[in-house]
Symmetry: C2
DNA sequence: TTAAGTAATAGTAACCGTTACTATTATTAT
DNA sequence: ATAATAATAGTAACGGTTACTATTACTTAA
């Protein structure tokens, strides 16, 4: 990834300017507003390059297409199984588990992927016409789809 | 899944008789030793049916094809990024996290997927010609590929 | 400031895992 | 046995992604 390219910059901007964990198609559509004849292949290639360079993060959502995250900080994701939105969770993972596993099994854990599937508060309300829970917005952000 | 079928039984047996978390191709090859003209489509369809019925579990491994697990007990997986083998980890996940997230964010967690990527002890030894660690075999099983 | 060298691109074909379709066969209930 | 229909084998189609190829655009050094 040595040379500059307008296309790669535009792709990066699109991802950095959303908190919605977009998929390739959405990114493609957005970037075409700037560069109408950009190739889908170019989008894929640069997404891979940007992820390899650590400028974005690639998410894997069970049974669905790739999604990307412009927020490369250490955080986890809450995936709503109803609306499909992905929320950020800024809560640390148990750090002791890696040492414990290594001591007990000899397996050296390098990365933990904790994915939490469930229902966002919007979908809970919608699903059952029930009580609303108070929650703290400062811990999660994003999820605008 | 009302009627019996020789094909489905054979597929289930293949999965139940290994601890290697096989993929579709391996299952297909194995079951063809019994039923040489079984269709790949039949394998896929029955894997889905068996997973829906809770008789097997479908794993999703980041960036690779589906794998299946005949062990439906509550356990997690250690995935070796070098040899690709998948080991079972019988260690409970932090149960408090779900309540904590719900209280703080309103998100109702239904399922936790904790995937631990790293190096198995074999691959560590192989990678660096270094000391061998003692580990407890009773906590993990499988991984024969 | 050209020219050479070569990343990066647009456009498109190919790929791979999976699902859908269709005519035929096997299982079940009467 | 017969009828109803679930399941199958074989194959086509699909969706997401990667690979290929000719062209374009940076970059460096005469
Ligand atoms: Mn995120
Ligand atoms: Mn397992
Ligand atoms: Zn939701
Ligand atoms: Zn290994």
């Amino acid at each position: 990834m040595s040379r500059k390219s307008i296309q790669r910059d535009a792709i990066l901007q699109v991802i950095k300017n959303t908190t919605s964990h977009p998929g390739v198609d959405w990114i493609y559509d957005e970037v075409r507003k700037e560069i109408p004849n950009i190739s889908l292949g170019t989008v894929y290639r640069n997404l891979r390059l940007l992820a390899q360079a650590g400028e974005i993060r690639e998410l894997d959502i069970p049974g669905s297409a790739k999604r990307f995250d412009g927020d490369t900080s250490n955080h986890r994701h809450l995936i709503c199984e109803k609306c499909g939105r992905i929320f950020d969770l800024y809560e640390a993972v148990d750090p002791k588990i890696e040492a414990r596993i290594f001591q007990k099994t000899g397996f050296k854990v390098k990365r933990q992927y904790l994915k939490l599937i469930g229902l966002c508060s919007d979908c809970q309300k919608q699903e059952e016409q029930l009580k609303t829970y108070i929650y703290d917005n400062s811990l999660i952000k994003g999820g605008e789809k």
